[in-house]
């Protein structure tokens, strides 16, 4: 694997995470428990789609065969996606959606913090631009997780169920492979495993405030960030997301 090949994979991982999570969050539009949440979720989705344009735009440049961010988003099939499995699982109830958001935001905020000192100035610039948005996402999702975890009996139960369901998808964020080794060597991105300590400290604090119990299994599903084995859910998501581009190729929108 050349450095550029690894760099491309890295960028796809970043951009596919924000793309797929942005899509999932956007599914809530008009269906939230309360108007303020409709607004907040639309805002989060909007930020994530904007971040996708940066990451996949750069991925297209690095790939160098003229593919735009839109081409990458709308014309790849499941196996070409490099997002972690966590972001593609269905929304479930509002609690699961917010718990997923929190578990992702926590990683995302730490990751972007590291990327701000990337040796690649383009990466550093994107991290700089997007980390403020993500800090706000994290603040909000953490507050909501605490509010619902430490709310009523029912809301507590649902949040614990959400955490139990999502926990096996957390580990993948910290798995390292040859791509990551190459990025570390180039000073472009940190080793994913190196983020775990800070991450654990952060979520332990918040989840304690939320009176929730972190499952003690360290088992982690894998296969998303390598593309080797996504969940069945991603294919269904793509049928929606990509239909128009597939049905009417070569149009300007």
């Amino acid at each position: 694997m050349t450095r550029d090949e690894a760099f491309l994979q890295f960028l796809l991982r970043m951009g596919d995470n924000t793309l797929i999570l942005g899509h999932r969050v956007s599914e809530w539009c008009g269906h939230s428990p309360v108007l303020e949440e409709d607004i907040a979720l639309a805002n989060t989705a909007l930020d994530l789609i904007g971040q996708t344009q940066f990451w996949l735009g750069l991925a297209g440049e690095v790939q160098g065969n003229g593919q735009s961010a839109d081409d990458l988003a709308f014309l790849r099939d499941v196996w070409d996606f490099r997002n972690i499995l966590l972001v593609e699982v269905p929304n479930g109830d509002f609690g699961r959606t917010l718990m997923r958001q929190f578990l992702f935001d926590a990683w995302h905020a730490i990751q972007l913090g590291r990327l701000m000192t990337s040796s690649d100035t383009r990466v550093a610039a994107i991290a700089e631009k997007t980390s403020k948005e993500v800090a706000y996402h994290l603040e909000r999702s953490a507050d909501t997780v605490v509010g619902l975890g430490d709310g009523t009996e029912e809301s507590h139960r649902r949040m614990q169920e959400a955490l139990d369901y999502l926990w096996p998808y957390v580990g993948e964020m910290f798995q390292s492979d040859a791509v990551d080794a190459e990025m570390v060597a180039a000073g472009i991105a940190p080793d994913p495993a190196s983020l775990r300590g800070e991450y654990d400290a952060l979520i332990e604090r918040i989840l304690a405030d939320a009176t929730l119990t972190i499952p003690d299994s360290r088992f982690g599903h894998r296969g998303g960030r390598t593309g080797k084995m996504h969940t069945e859910h991603l294919g269904h998501l793509l049928t929606q997301m990509q239909w128009l581009q597939r049905a009417y190729p070569g149009s300007n929108w």
Binding site: E27, G30, A42, Q53, F94, T144, S155, R158, W253
Partner: protein
């Protein structure tokens, strides 16, 4: 009756009525109905557009659509706030929407069936809404007038974006152009209906005009919309959806075919293509969300109690 005369005098003098001022019960009631209905329209209006968010054809279009729907939820929020100053809570109004006691704009009972509908909704529906709302920036009730200033500004932006989106379709491939034409054909008459029934059939009008809750007649506003929109359709190179459209030199306006008012009243009655699904979607969101609202409230109370205890 003296109070009433003084109240009317203030309105005639162009003063704003504020929430704490005395006002006739009927004025209050009419405003709650009108502002509430307007707020509900913003909320329900998220659904036909939201229907395409997951299928938007580019990242840029998806972002624009998300931002628009977010703005609409925001409009709903400040309109509910304006209504709340009249002594009704948002939850009360929501319950009335959900059980059918309060209405929302009938236009949202029509489906969005192809991507170009999203452009058409921004251009025609928001366009019609602006024509309805611009005069309301001068309405007599202060909080409503101020909300309208902000709403109109954002709606104009949406209308321009909608026009840009449908223009891309009209100038695109033959299939895209066909979609654009299909949108305009389907949405034209429903858009005309947004101004309400013809003046001769319209209830509530006279008193509302005197109170400056309503500033123009339905037919005046509808004519304005037609006059403004026909040249835009021609600019897009699309066929006019109403073959009865004709420039009337004498009137200085376009003549147009009146919409089918029996359809309008049918939709109001609940028989529109999407009434049932729209209300079901809102009811589901509300019912499914109960535990969230309860949970957040319980937490807020615990926090407040802990704070008091600590003091």
């Amino acid at each position: 009756p003296e109070k009433l005369a003084a109240f009317q005098a203030r309105i005639d003098a162009g003063e704003k009525i504020e929430p704490k001022d005395w006002m006739p019960a009927a004025y209050r009631k009419t405003l709650i109905r009108q502002i509430g209905q307007h707020a509900h329209s913003e909320i329900v209006g998220q659904l036909p557009e939201g229907n395409w968010i997951t299928r938007a054809p580019t990242l840029e279009r998806k972002a624009i659509l998300l931002a628009k729907v977010q703005d609409e939820a925001g409009h709903g929020l400040y309109l509910y706030c304006a209504a709340e100053t009249l002594g009704v809570t948002r939850d009360e109004m929501t319950e009335m929407l959900l059980d059918g006691r309060m209405k929302y704009s009938s236009i949202f009972n029509y489906p969005t069936l192809n991507w170009s509908d999203i452009g058409a909704v921004g251009w025609l529906v928001d366009g019609a809404a602006i024509i309805n709302q611009v005069p309301l920036q001068r309405t007599s009730f202060g909080p409503y007038a101020r909300a309208m200033v902000r709403v109109c500004k954002e709606e104009s932006f949406h209308a321009r974006q909608g026009f840009d989106a449908i223009r891309k379709m009209a100038e695109g491939t033959p299939a895209q152009k066909k979609m654009a034409q299909d949108s305009v054909n389907r949405l034209w008459f429903p858009a005309l209906m947004m101004f309400g029934p013809s003046d001769k059939d319209s209830v509530h009008s006279e008193q509302s005009m005197a109170w400056k809750i309503k500033m123009n007649t339905n037919d005046e506003l509808r004519q304005k919309f037609v006059d403004q929109t026909v040249p835009q359709i021609e600019f897009l190179g699309l066929d006019l959806p109403d073959p009865g459209t004709k420039w009337n030199e004498e009137r200085g306006h376009y003549d147009y075919t009146d919409p089918d008012w029996s359809e309008f009243f049918d939709v109001i009655k609940g028989n529109g293509p999407c009434n049932v699904d729209r209300l079901a979607a809102r009811n589901k969101a509300w019912d499914d969300g109960k535990w969230v609202r309860d949970g957040l409230l319980a937490h807020a109370r615990k926090k407040a109690a802990a704070k008091v205890a600590a003091e």
